[in-house]
């Protein structure tokens, strides 16, 4: 990074960023190795999503990169370890760190997962599943209430990809998520790849899931690649690996979702085997074309009415 990008007094003066709109845009995960090329592209259309925890250090290159990016693009702040679906109370220190990031970077979107990652004192660094019962529903709602009060804005809750089910579950995932959204006022992050992965792994129809999903509350869509393994019976088990391009079947589901809920901000996630920037940019452009087509159709309908 050259000297011109260095803020004069980064610690003393609170930064103020432009309120860039995110509606109808496609974006990608932000990886530091892409920053120079993103800047060389000259502030194109789109947005970037970052994992909140990666910016919870005190200073240094991560914050400098995010400040640079945030001046030109809307940012989506995506938490991966609030452990909303866990049994223990939310970590207040972590909540305070999260709140600080929201204040500092003024993200266009804030999201977390319907999952847990901490038990007792151990952090497992994975998005672990929970049973869907009245008891877990109450606790998840309490956690989201607490989260939203801390950051003073609603979050988007992401549907999980799962490999197992809990014997004690008494309701469907879509019923659970709908109730959470109704009780807490949170929006939803619909991960279409997660729907496809879970539908394959649990043997239900992805289209039925989407029909049951409260699409009106969706404020962001995720797309990602997955990998293939097999289960104990030798049948296909999909892994939510984020390590390759979006699958054709997931693109088709995405088109169906967009035809129903319009051009919702859409992110292409790619977190391992990270490709060169032009490849990631092309995936986002493919999503943008679908969003723009939907927007064009909506405009035409509006004009005809």
């Amino acid at each position: 990074m050259n000297a011109a990008t260095k803020p004069a007094a980064c610690a003393a003066i609170p930064l103020r960023f432009p309120a860039l709109p995110i509606g109808g845009l496609a974006g990608t995960s932000f990886k530091h190795q892409h920053l120079a090329e993103i800047r060389a592209d000259g502030g194109g259309r789109g947005f970037f999503e970052v994992h909140a925890e990666n910016y919870m250090g005190a200073g240094g290159p991560p914050h400098r990169a995010l400040e640079t990016l945030r001046r030109d693009f809307p940012i989506s702040l995506h938490g991966v370890c609030m452990s909303i679906g866990g049994e223990r109370p939310l970590d207040r220190t972590h909540l305070a760190r999260f709140q600080h990031l929201v204040e500092r970077y003024e993200p266009a979107l804030v999201s977390e997962h319907l999952a847990w990652s901490t038990h007792d004192t151990t952090y497992f660094n994975d998005l672990l599943p929970l049973p869907y019962t009245e008891a877990t529903l109450r606790r998840v709602c309490d956690h989201i209430d607490q989260f939203q009060e801390a950051i003073r804005r609603p979050i988007l809750l992401e549907n999980p990809s799962t490999y197992v089910a809990f014997r004690e579950s008494t309701m469907s995932e879509t019923d659970f998520i709908r109730s959470v959204s109704q009780r807490t006022g949170c929006g939803l992050l619909l991960d279409v790849n997660n729907v496809f992965v879970s539908a394959t792994n649990h043997g239900f129809s992805a289209l039925d899931y989407l029909s049951d999903f409260p699409l009106a509350d969706v404020g962001e869509i995720h797309l990602a690649g997955h990998a293939e393994q097999s289960d104990d019976e030798g049948e296909l088990l999909l892994i939510d690996s984020h390590n390759g391009p979006v699958a054709d079947a997931v693109w088709k589901l995405f088109e169906i979702v967009v035809s129903r809920c319009g051009p919702v901000p859409t992110l292409v996630e790619w977190d391992s085997n990270i490709p060169d920037w032009p490849i990631l940019k092309a995936e986002a452009a493919a999503a943008q074309a679908i969003l723009d087509r939907s927007h064009g159709i909506a405009e035409a309908r509006h004009a005809a009415a």
Partner: protein, 265 residues
Amino acid sequence: MLPPEPHLHSSYTSAFASALIDPRSETPAVVTGPRGKAAIKRYNVYRNNVTASLIEALAAIYPAVQRITGVEFFRAMARSHIRATPPTSPLLFEYGRDFPAFIETYEHASAMPWLADTARIERAWLDAYHAADAEPLPAAALGSSPQERLAELCFVVHPATGIVRSRLSAVTIFAANRDDAVQGRIDASMPEDALITRPDLDVVVRHLPAGGAVFLASLIAGQPLGEAAALALDASPTFDIASAIAGMIEAGAFTAATLEKQDGQ
């Protein structure tokens, strides 16, 4: 009294977590595949994710250690550490503080006695990377202090500054394994001290001259310049105070210099 509701007794996180990092444990009975299918391989996906992602986290913090040991050795050593000391913070860049001490006790690494100190430099490198930003002390600051009171000057340490002392050649080994340059044979038996700083964006690791670590550690502990220099001379008769001061300014190890007696006023 009524018996408590069953769900208050069941803990799905305890049941699910119990076998996550213990390969000998059976699949928890609380989970199942769909329509009565088994959940062994399905549950193992989570096991693999947890262990593999934490190994990746340690490899990202300790790339020189992995380069030295090779990937397979590193993964086995990291897996042992993760089982003994899983992370407690969701911030993965804070993980692995106990890894250098673990390396010291890891019997398969006993032929590499400098490996733990190399890891300590890598851990200090990452701490410097994430440390708070601060302007280093400008070179002119010492010139503006009254020369007759230089010995009373105290220094405020920069948030990124760290010192690692090694009885072996950990600084040379670290440097040789953090870039792709091909190195000749290293004499690992020379004691070396490292100064780690980040005056702006780039973390810099310097090999301190004799007495330098004692000098800087004394200043970081709040002792005035004169006392720190005396301690450094005690530790090493060849200690050169002029070059030590020039070196610490150039490295950006401190943010401010104050006359001790002003502090209390």
